[in-house]
């Protein structure tokens, strides 16, 4: 969105956050919203521990773990992309962006498979309270993931054929911050939904 924006003057300060300084408002608001989701879940879970536990056992923790692996690997490549952008190495930056997108694709494929399997098995967000939260929370997270993948692709085409410079850096850094948030939220969702025992 900041197509030609040079880095803001604020960014030059030693303590300035990476990326567009304003994006941190978006990230904070989003994390606040998910924080609220988690509190609602914990509260509701305490009212119906048995139901939540029985429903949780219908989820496959290995799928969740593999998804965690895909997201973390994708984020790790993104860190490489940020370093490459900072060093001004355009080719390396593009390679890391492709790797990050490829690793991220694994999450999408697996999550869709999981959704289809649940729905075919007759489980939807209207099945019970646990699955309402499961579908809504992972669904909202999945929308965040899709936006992140779209932005990753956008950044790749944006930096391709352009000399490395501050114009690229702010985009790459902002995308990385967002992508790490998608990780962070999943790192909360995964144990809460798949692992938390009664």
């Amino acid at each position: 969105m900041t197509s030609h924006a040079a880095p803001s003057p604020h960014q030059k300060g030693a303590a300035a956050p990476p990326g567009d300084p304003g994006i941190w408002m978006f990230l904070s608001a989003d994390i606040f919203m998910f924080g609220l989701f988690f509190l609602i879940f914990i509260f509701e879970r305490a009212q119906a521990v048995t139901l939540f536990e029985q429903s949780r056992l219908l989820l496959d923790p290995w799928t969740g773990l593999l998804n965690t692996f895909f997201l973390l690997t994708s984020s790790w490549f993104m860190v490489g992309a940020v370093e490459a952008a900072r060093e001004g190495r355009a080719g390396r930056l593009q390679r890391y962006l492709v790797l990050s997108f490829a690793a991220g694709s694994g999450f999408g494929v697996l999550k869709m498979t999981e959704y289809v399997e649940k729905i075919r098995g007759g489980i939807s967000m209207l099945t019970n309270d646990f699955f309402m939260y499961y579908f809504v929370f992972t669904g909202v997270h999945f929308l965040h993931y899709l936006v992140g993948m779209a932005v990753l692709a956008l950044v790749f085409f944006k930096v391709r054929g352009r000399p490395a410079g501050p114009g690229n850096l702010i985009w790459v850094e902002s995308t990385a911050c967002y992508w790490h948030m998608v990780d962070l939220l999943w790192l909360m969702l995964f144990p809460l939904l798949y692992l938390l025992r009664a």
């Binding site: 969105m1 900041t2 197509s3 030609h4 924006a5 803001s8 003057p9 567009d20 300084p21 304003g22 994006i23 941190w24 408002m25 978006f26 608001a29 989003d30 919203m33 609220l36 609602i40 967000m125 209207l126 309270d129 309402m132 809504v136 909202v140 929308l143």
Partner: protein
């Protein structure tokens, strides 16, 4: 004060006025702050319309009369956006259309509540419940027009090339976030209790609160931006442009 900016300011104040009317007449007099839970039986909704018919009528009449102020407020913001985006006016146009169209679900849903309060003694409880449900479904699910305004504004403010942008970048991002978060309203028709129903923690309390914070905050910064634009214009003219002889720069440049 330049005449041109006098009207901008007037339009900008339409936002807080709209909000005050909305809270007072649609919200409190219309018994919509918070709404009745979707789990409430039809008899209770029927009873509410019959007992409070005149209060609801007055609330909705005033809310409908002042609903257009949202578009007026949207125009003030769109004028500031025009100065940010320069020759291309696509974002300011989208934002203005978004604000203008936001008036539609507000007006139509208010007419639903008003229809319920018009002759509630002659209508059955399920019919009154239907009117109440339908009005809420419309006002919540009509979110996309407001989201359009918020996204267009966010993108425009983020593309501001000034060293000190007219609208702070954090507010641009906050508006984008609020607009996107409205998508949570899509969950509302599927639930009659819990956090995602119309009176739920997420779909009512959070979604309405984040908008209620956005509207006055943006108004504050829009008024400050108008002040800056006016000062800049006066400065340009004091420096001798356009040609000498023009005393007051009232016309658009």
């Amino acid at each position: 004060m330049l005449d041109e900016f006098k009207y901008w300011r007037l339009c900008a104040w339409a936002g807080p006025l709209f909000m005050a009317v909305f809270i007072g007449f649609w919200g409190l007099m219309g018994f919509n702050l918070p709404p009745f839970s979707a789990a409430l039986p039809a008899e209770d909704i029927g009873h509410y319309f019959r007992e409070n018919a005149n209060t609801v009528r007055l609330g909705m009449v005033i809310a409908m009369t002042f609903a257009v102020l949202y578009m007026v407020w949207g125009l003030a913001i769109a004028k500031v956006v025009e100065r940010v985006e320069g020759e291309s006016n696509i974002l300011s146009t989208l934002a203005l259309w978004g604000a203008g169209l936001t008036v539609v679900p507000i007006l139509v849903s208010c007419s639903g509540w008003l229809a319920g309060a018009y002759r509630p003694e002659a209508l059955s409880d399920p019919v009154l419940q239907l009117l109440y449900d339908w009005s809420w479904l419309l006002i919540d699910l009509g979110y996309s027009v407001t989201t359009l305004q918020m996204l267009a504004l966010g993108v425009a403010f983020l593309s501001d090339k000034r060293e000190h942008p007219l609208i702070p970048r954090w507010l641009a991002w906050y508006g984008i976030w609020v607009g996107v978060s409205f998508a949570a309203e899509c969950l509302m028709p599927f639930f009659k209790s819990g956090p995602f129903e119309r009176a739920g923690l997420l779909n009512f309390w959070i979604e309405f609160s984040v908008w209620f914070v956005w509207c006055p905050t943006l108004t504050f910064y829009i008024l400050a931006a108008i002040k800056r634009l006016e000062a800049e214009k006066l400065e340009r003219h004091a420096a001798g442009r356009p040609p000498a002889g023009v005393v007051l720069p009232q016309a658009a440049e």
